[in-house]
């Protein structure tokens, strides 16, 4: 069975500027987060996946087909781009119907599929209103509807939470969980890590056009075991740990905040911390409220990977 997404040494150049650089990815069907700061190459990668861009070097295959040459595969892909859409005097129903029709789906089917998708995103009550009267959140829901209306096998979302209020975010998370639970593919691009963590634990980390890491948070964590990571120790006695860290050779630097209740420690070997910290706290009878480490926290992993990428490890 062919992979859902397959990139074989893909490089995309815009003149002399590198969009993405030598990407090698093979993802079986599932849900994946695509994480990277603005300008990392996420949108270039997405445009390669939908065949809008052709790679300068290498090849891209989606569900076994090359999207830039075999446009039939686009019927199996739904994309919700990050950019806003506004046709002021057209209703959501008309627009989604139009988008479905452009896949070559029969006219009579288009209305049913559009209504169904708009109902899924909670736009049934307002789908006949002109889009010019919509809030940003309503337009975002409409964009999701056009991405899922033709019932694709792979859904690609670029910053889908933009403009959504907390209720909208919760609804969106529920919808995406249902989507992945139904066994369909999902690629979810964001620079807000918590958004991705709520949907999937598998992710790709992209920065400067390069794939820095891929896998689950745990896999990345083990990969980073020897990479300096920063941890935060919060509590009334945080300052009393300074002499303990000063005596070991696996610490790079220490920083105590002004109120002396938070200690930031840069670790050369994070694995050593887990074996020592509990012992120190117990033997010195310290009051420590929280230790924030890289495990389970994508933000910390992301920071560490960036340092690793920059050669700071």
């Amino acid at each position: 069975m062919s992979a859902m997404i397959e990139l074989n040494h893909v490089t995309k150049m815009y003149g002399n500027v590198v969009g993405v650089n030598d990407l090698v990815i093979e993802l079986p069907e599932g849900a994946y987060g695509l994480i990277g700061p603005n300008g990392a190459g996420k949108t270039t990668l997405i445009n390669l996946l939908i065949g809008h861009l052709r790679p300068t070097i290498g090849n891209v295959r989606i569900l076994g087909s090359t999207p830039s040459s075999d446009r039939r595969i686009l019927r199996q892909i739904g994309l919700c781009p990050a950019t806003d859409v506004l046709y002021p005097n057209v209703s959501a129903l008309e627009w989604v119907q139009y988008q479905v029709r452009l896949h070559g789906i029969a006219r009579h089917e288009c209305q049913r599929l559009a209504e169904q998708a708009l109902e899924t995103v909670g736009m049934s009550a307002t789908m006949h209103r002109p889009m010019g009267t919509y809030s940003l959140g309503m337009r975002q829901r409409t964009k999701i509807a056009q991405a899922i209306a033709h019932e694709p096998q792979l859904l690609i979302l670029d910053e889908p939470y933009n403009g959504l209020d907390p209720v909208g975010r919760s609804d969106m998370t529920r919808m995406l969980k249902n989507w992945t639970a139904a066994g369909r593919g999902l690629l979810f691009a964001s620079h807000v890590l918590q958004e991705i963590e709520s949907i999937t634990s598998s992710f790709l980390l992209i920065f400067g056009g390069r794939l820095l890491a891929s896998g689950t948070a745990k896999e990345i964590e083990s990969m980073l075991a020897k990479t300096p990571q920063e941890i935060r120790i919060v509590g009334r006695d945080a300052a009393r740990l300074i002499h303990r860290f000063a005596d070991v050779d696996w610490v790079d630097s220490l920083q105590l905040t002004e109120n002396r209740k938070e200690l930031r420690v840069s670790l050369r070997d994070p694995t050593m911390l887990s074996t020592q910290i509990a012992h120190w706290i117990a033997s010195d009878s310290l009051s420590i409220e929280r230790v924030s480490a890289a495990d389970g926290n994508l933000a910390a992993i992301f920071e560490s990977l960036l340092r690793h990428h920059r050669g700071e490890s």
Binding site: L79, P81, T83, V90
Partner: protein, 260 residues
């Protein structure tokens, strides 16, 4: 297959639906009103020239041709056909169309049809009102109507091609091309003017209206070829330009959005 053939018409229906804005309707009315107003004024001034009524037909008809198939049609198409792609790129909506299985070509064809239908409707109304004022026989009705249609079809294809290739500064490029080639080169008494659309339209005007005197006095402007040659040339220009546009749009990597 039938579904694919009807898709450009669905695009046209969507485009016409979204274009029902006060600004677009006002533009349509202006395109209708300005040739009618000029023809009405010219017609009112004719008795002062001392020309007998049967002699007034040719100058009035030539003016109407200039105003509608050569000006109204080009203005309408400049507004509709030229920005077919650039408005989607600027509005950041191109990516929604490009990722559709049949999106690129069908959308371009649909937008081309929209431009032709929208402009042709204004042109035909302007011609009808003008001819009602002039009060001429039926021949000029169908000649002007046919020339307006041919102008829309051929110039529409030309502007769509310009829009597809020059998606930045589209309007400026199209205006420059029109002034240089269609209004400049088409009057140059050399082989090169035979490659312009307006030369072919003027040739058909002289042929179909039997204005031999006008043609013989300016053969390089009105041509000597039979009507069939002009029609073939217009068909070849239209098909070639649409074909290149469809090929180009299917392969183009237009910008979708800025990262960061």
């Amino acid at each position: 297959m039938i579904d694919w053939l009807t898709m450009p018409f669905d695009v046209m229906r969507f485009e016409l639906r979204r274009s029902l804005t006060p600004a677009r309707i006002a533009m349509w009315l202006i395109l209708v009103a300005f040739p009618v107003a000029l023809i009405a004024r010219l017609h009112a001034l004719m008795p002062e020239s001392g020309m007998p009524p049967e002699m007034q037909i040719m100058p009035l008809g030539a003016t109407l041709y200039l105003l509608v198939p050569e000006v109204t049609c080009l203005l309408g198409l400049l507004l509709w056909a030229t920005p077919a792609i650039s408005t989607e790129i600027e509005g950041q909506t191109w990516v929604y169309l490009a990722l559709r299985q049949s999106g690129r070509r069908v959308v371009l064809l649909g937008k081309y049809l929209t431009a032709v239908v929208w402009t042709l409707s204004a042109a035909w109304v302007a011609i009808a009102l003008s001819l009602l004022i002039i009060g001429v026989e039926w021949r000029m009705w169908w000649v002007m109507g046919a020339l307006a249609m041919l102008s829309c079809v051929a110039h529409g294809a030309l502007y769509v091609l310009i829009g597809v290739i020059f998606f930045r500064r589209t309007m400026a490029t199209a205006v420059l091309y029109t002034l240089t080639v269609e209004y400049g080169v088409s009057f140059v008494p050399a082989l090169i003017n035979k490659f312009t659309i307006n030369y072919r339209l003027r040739g058909l005007l002289a042929q179909w209206m039997n204005w031999e005197e006008m043609r013989s006095s300016a053969e390089n402007v009105f041509g000597t070829e039979p009507a069939g040659t002009h029609l073939l040339a217009l068909a070849a220009i239209t098909i070639t330009m649409l074909g290149i546009s469809l090929y180009r749009v299917n392969r183009a990597e237009y910008p979708t959005q800025q990262e960061g």
